[in-house]
Subunit: 160 residues, 2 copies
Amino acid sequence: MRIGELAKRAEMKTDTVRYYEKAGLLPPPPRRHNGYRDYGTLHLERLAFIRHCRALDMSLADISRLLEFVTHPDVECGAIDRLIDGQLIQVQARIASLRTLESQLLALRDQCHDQKTAGECGILQELVAAAHDEDCVCHPASIGETDTDDYASVPEDGHD
Amino acid sequence: MRIGELAKRAEMKTDTVRYYEKAGLLPPPPRRHNGYRDYGTLHLERLAFIRHCRALDMSLADISRLLEFVTHPDVECGAIDRLIDGQLIQVQARIASLRTLESQLLALRDQCHDQKTAGECGILQELVAAAHDEDCVCHPASIGETDTDDYASVPEDGHD
DNA sequence: TTAGAACCATGGAGCTACTCCAAGGTCAAT
DNA sequence: ATTGACCTTGGAGTAGCTCCATGGTTCTAA
């Protein structure tokens, strides 16, 4: 089949199919006399696999690694487990941070008391005020790995 | 103050500060005789605001809109509320989809039964099989928020 | 027979929100 | 005079596509 039909069946754009080929995730298919790509069901399988993994939010690099295993079923599979575990940890961390975010936004929305001008808007006031709060989301309290400790301790003289 | 100190106080890179200027979020400061940018506390305020909003996962475009309100406190503020609401909806949708993802990954991880080769790996088998499942994450049945409509509407013509 | 629509090809630019780098200018201290 | 730490600019790179221009091909209908 040609790229259009393949893309339709895999539910993605032809551009995306070509992109996956260029990125090394989809093997280059044979060409017809006119240069058109000619795909078979194996390509569709592979695309479905890629699509499913993308839906699981995996990076193309990770998917590429998984595809290695698909094409080499005889190698040791421990890395697959670790890959999924890593993915899971990422997703869970993201959920946690989004939940924090959600409560921040909910609190923010509660500041709206139907004022009519931006100057009186509780949300805006809250945003401006919160920007200086040491304990707020934008100041990494325990996450910090690099010791950037003297950021906030710069004195207030702009001399030169 | 020069860009280095400003960046340090705002806890971001000098590159990011310059980027924000180029993106129109931070007004260009005056220059010294040698061409160095010369910032004041207003710039720091603004950067703190931007940083806080970024931590709330807002896009630069949204932040830009908010900054309009900050600098024009006399305009009607209903759009602020809508902006925050939109952000909240986005975040909640993302949380929901990540939770689905999490359970998928957990189920996937449970497929690992300490096989030694990729060919026997339950995770991989599951991934390959699930790719064809009409009800799985990668087929936007009801999850689709703003899906490109004619993709999913090619349901049963995919026969071989 | 021929016009048009619907495909296909390629290369390159654009998107977000930065981050990094190279080449060069400036300034204070040694 | 020479470090070294700053600063400047422009440009490239990241992920994962998406879109576009330009041109070739194939099929169908008038």
